[in-house]
Symmetry: C2
Subunit: 273 residues, 2 copies
C-alpha cells in the first residue's frame, strides 16, 4: 500500500469566505487508502502511448509537440525523434525536456487526471539499453519498425527528475523520481469505466448501503460511484444535510486487472453485515 | 480557396533506395485543392478546448502541462493559469510559450493531425480585450466561472508567431501568424467521421466510379474513403498495378457544416457523366 495514503488538498484559492464545504460523516469512518501521486503518475503513463513533449528551441523558447512514447520497466518514457522535426533538432542540442500525458477524460477535462515528467533526454548507451528502449517503443508504436531505423531518427530515454500529478480540481501532488520508478501502475485502471457504469446502473442499492453503513452517512438518500481504483471506490452521496463525498476502501488492494468485481462484492457484503 | 493548394511532401527520410512509390494515374487528373497549413491549423484548434502548453521553468528548462483554452476570432488561444501551478508561475516570469493541440485520432496517432503554435503570452490590456478573452475562455470551459475570478488566476492570450502543422506521416507545413489569423476553420470538420463511414458503408460503388473516372485509375477494383474536408475527398484505391491514393476535389468549396452530402452527390454524378 502506498506510503502517502491520502494526498491532501494542497492549497486553497484565495476565495472570500473560503472554499466550499460539504457535510461531514456522522459516524467514525476508517481512513481509506488512495493511490499515491507516484502510483497515479505510473497509472496515467501506462494507459496511453501519446503525450506532448516540451523541448527548447534554438533561441531558448519552449516548443510543445505531440509524440508517441513507450515505457521502460521503471516508467522512463522512450521516444524516437527525427532530426527533420523541430523537437528532434531541439533534443539533439539541449537535453532538458518534459512530457505531459493525460489520463482518460470523463466530463470536464480540467477535472481529469494528467501528469508531467521533467528530466533529461539520454541516448541508451549499452546494447542492452538500446534493445530495451527499442522494444519498449515498438511495443507502444506498432508502426515504429517502418521508421525507427531511418538515419534521421534518434531513440531517447527521458530520465525522470521531477513528477507532478494533477488528479483534477484540488487533487494533486508531486513525487520523486525514485518513488515514481518504484510505483506500480494500477492493474484495474483499464476496467474502471465499465465497472463504474455497471455499479451505478445495476447496484445503486449496494452503493447506498455502503454510503450509509461504511461511509458515515446513515441518512444518505442516494449514492453514485464516480471512480474506482485498486484501493477502493469514490462515491457522491446525497443526504438531507447536502451532497457530500465518501471514500470506501477495499479489504485488500487489488492485484489483478479483473479484481474489481470481487472486491466490490466484499464491500457490499460488509456494508450489509 | 487557399493559396497553398497542395502542401507537398517536404522532405524524404534518408532511406536506402528512396521512399515507397505508388502507381501513378493513367489519365490526366485535375489538381484538387486541399486545405492550406493555416486552414489545417485553424481547423484543429477549433475542434477541441484542450492542449498542452510549454513554458519555461525558473531554471530555463521546458515545462509541459495540460491546459484548457478558448479562441479569439483570430485564432489566438486564451488561457487562464493559476500562480499556484508551475505553468502559471512560469508564464508570469517569462512569456515565451507554445501550445500543442491534437486533432481527432483515427488509428495511428502519429498519422493523425496536430499543430504547434508558438509565440508570447500577453495579458489582455483594454476592457474590450479583457471581455473578449474572458468570453472566449468561458465559451470553451463551462466550469470557468467557478474559478476564473480567483485572485491566483491570470488570463493570458497567446500571441501566435509561428505555426507548425503535422497532418500525419509525410504531410506537414509551416505558416505565418498572418495566414493563421486570416484562415477559416473547416466548417465540415465535425461531420467528417460520420460522412466517411457512410460513404464506405453505403456508397462503395460511387467511390469506385470516382476513382475510375475522376481519379485517373480506370482499372481500379476497390476504393475506400479515408478522409474528407471542405475541398474534397481522399481515397485509397486498389488497382492491378498496386494500391494508390487519389484526391478528388468538390466543384465548389463547402461553406456550411452539413454540405458534405450534396458536394459528394455532385462528385458521384460527375463520375458517372
Amino acid at each position: 500500500m502506498p506510503e502517502t495514503a491520502a494526498p491532501s488538498r494542497e492549497y486553497d484559492h484565495d476565495v472570500p469566505g473560503g472554499g466550499p464545504s460539504v457535510p461531514p460523516p456522522l459516524t467514525d469512518v476508517e481512513d481509506a487508502a488512495r493511490r499515491s501521486p507516484a502510483e497515479e503518475a505510473r497509472t496515467i503513463m501506462s494507459a496511453t502511448t501519446i503525450g506532448t513533449l516540451a523541448t527548447l528551441s534554438e533561441d531558448g523558447s519552449p516548443w510543445a509537440s505531440v509524440v508517441a512514447f513507450g515505457l521502460l520497466v521503471d516508467g522512463s518514457p522512450v521516444l524516437a525523434l527525427s532530426r527533420l522535426a523541430e523537437h528532434g533538432r531541439n533534443a539533439a542540442a539541449e537535453q532538458r525536456a518534459s512530457i505531459a500525458v493525460s489520463g482518460p477524460v470523463i466530463g470536464d477535462p480540467l477535472d481529469s487526471a494528467r501528469v508531467t515528467l521533467a528530466g533529461r533526454l539520454v541516448k541508451p548507451a549499452t546494447a542492452t539499453e538500446v534493445a530495451a528502449a527499442r522494444a519498449a517503443y515498438v511495443a507502444a508504436v506498432p508502426a515504429a519498425p517502418a521508421f525507427i531505423d531511418f538515419t534521421d531518427f534518434t531513440t531517447w530515454v527521458l530520465k525522470v527528475e521531477r513528477v507532478r500529478w494533477v488528479g483534477g480540481y484540488g487533487r494533486m501532488g508531486s513525487t520523486t523520481a525514485e518513488e515514481y520508478a518504484l510505483a506500480a501502475p494500477d492493474p484495474v485502471a483499464a476496467n474502471v469505466p465499465r465497472a463504474v457504469e455497471h455499479l451505478n446502473d445495476d447496484h445503486a442499492d449496494a452503493l447506498l448501503d455502503m454510503a450509509r453503513n461504511l461511509g458515515g452517512h446513515p441518512d444518505a438518500t442516494h449514492a453514485h460511484c464516480t471512480s474506482a481504483d485498486r484501493y477502493g471506490l469514490d462515491l457522491v452521496v446525497k443526504t438531507p444535510r447536502g451532497t457530500t463525498i465518501s471514500r470506501l476502501g477495499f479489504a485488500q488492494p487489488i492485484t489483478e486487472p479483473h479484481g474489481l468485481r470481487s472486491a466490490t462484492v466484499e464491500l457490499a457484503r460488509r456494508a450489509r453485515a
